[in-house]
Amino acid sequence: MRTAIAPALRLFRYCHRVDPVSDEDVSAAFTEGRPEGLGLAYERFGPLVYTLALRSVDDAAEAEDITQQVFVAAWRGRDGFDPHRGTLGGWLVAITRNKIADALRGRQRDQRLLRQIASGGATAVSDAPLDLLVDRVLLADELAQLPEPQRLAMVLAFYSDLTHEQIAATLRMPLGTVKSNIRRGLARLRSRLEADGAAH
């Protein structure tokens, strides 16, 4: 009996885990202004900030600009970040939201100008609800942070049609381990959304 993914996962134990710098260490290096602090923060949260920007403004060059603005502003204004009041990720997301809003406002202004000139025919500005987008991107980020094989169990639980029993068989993990991985994984994702997400 072989499921479609079982062969790929057969020797999963041979995979090497990386040991990334913990979010706390990144935050400490950044807050203390250590030379590597900005680079570590960028490595850890660059994709989060960039993806959020890219999916909001739908323009790669503009998303790159926003990403740059966010990290430069955050680094210069790092004294304004209080790690006791929130996470570095949440703080960067808040700055990103501001920069996105600025970019979209600038675009609307341009659009209004265009409309005045052309009187009509202007396309609507994307107003994708930013809150939902923030939550989705944060969730993708947190999912990617889960240790293996928990991450894989969550991916399968979310996106495959496999039941938890089938996931256990596929990953060759005890059923109880899969169930607790799923429970803890969901709880961790929820905590991240509550800490850094739109509703916080």
């Binding site: 090497h16 890219l54 999916r55 430069v72 987008l133 990617a144």
Partner: protein
């Protein structure tokens, strides 16, 4: 009765059947459990909204350079990241070692696991691949956003972009396979890397199996068996260090129940030569 087991709530939130009739009754009458279930279901809905393709896109390399310049810091964002350790001298254990490739790339290494850690950066992906993955991810997102008008969906139906094409060739020490050939196409899949492998080789008793080979010539990961068509699509297990597992190998396996490589390599190919992420990764050969 006590509150519903959190594991059952989690499974219910995922849409699975779980728990007993008693659990159902309890949840129906317990505001706390209902609220907890609703919160978990929200998380599931957010996760499922974009589908598995919803990966984060990596900003292009020049963004960091601009940030570093503007902020007055120097160095790579992952400065100090260790390069893959060069193969140490030593002989592979004879009972598991595979025949080395003709180009000697499989140089003997100890059985010790390679150092996997890399601080920061996309784990386990060589530089050439990181760039292509970022480009692929950005392409997907931009393409879908432009099509939909709202940049919040990722087109699921698009064929995963190709990040590498690898030619598979027979090894000189196996003259019986000199007519064999193959290709491996690496694609950036939804949550993983995919490998489409095609083999041109005569049918033989047994079956063909696809492997990733480590640079030490000993470590290997089985990706799966080729079907009778000799063409199959495989998932590279997430987390695989492709700076270490740099070669693709197809073996002929007997129906003897053995899960290990038969040591009969039919064809083999290497990830692009630039794959080693710079000179330091090339195995340290002088």
């Amino acid at each position: 009765m006590p509150h519903t087991d959190p594991e059952i709530l989690a499974l219910l939130a995922l849409g699975e059947r779980a728990g007993t009739a008693a659990d159902e009754d309890h949840i129906a009458g317990c505001a706390g459990c209902r609220a907890e279930l609703a919160r978990l279901a929200d998380v599931v809905a957010i996760a499922r909204h974009d589908g598995p393709a919803a990966q984060l896109a990596r900003p292009p390399e020049q963004v960091w350079q601009r940030i570093a310049a503007a902020a007055g810091v120097t160095g790579a964002p992952a400065a100090g990241a260790p390069q893959p350790s060069p193969d140490a001298a030593g002989r592979p254990s004879p009972d598991t070692a595979l025949p080395p490739a003709a180009d000697g790339a499989a140089g003997g290494g100890p059985r010790a696991r390679p150092r996997p850690a890399r601080r920061g950066g996309r784990p386990g992906f060589p530089r050439w691949l990181r760039g292509r993955l970022a480009a692929a991810a950005a392409g997907l997102v931009i393409g879908a956003g432009a099509a939909a008008g709202v940049a919040s969906v990722v087109a699921p139906a698009q064929a995963p972009p190709v990040v590498a094409r690898i030619v598979l060739r027979p090894l000189p020490q196996f003259p019986q396979w000199q007519g064999a050939s193959g290709t491996a196409v690496m694609r950036a899949g939804t949550a993983t890397l995919l490998l489409d492998v095609t083999l041109h080789a005569p049918r033989r008793p047994g079956f063909y199996e696809v492997w990733l080979l480590g640079r030490d010539g000993v470590s290997m990961i089985s990706l799966g068996d080729l079907p009778a068509s000799h063409a199959g699509s495989f998932t590279i297990p997430p987390g695989t260090d492709l700076r270490f597992y740099t070669r693709i190998d197809v073996s002929l396996q007997s129906f003897n129940g053995s899960p290990v490589h038969s040591k009969t390599s039919v064809v083999r190919g290497s990830l692009p030569p630039a794959a080693a992420g710079g000179s330091a990764g090339a195995g340290g050969r002088a």
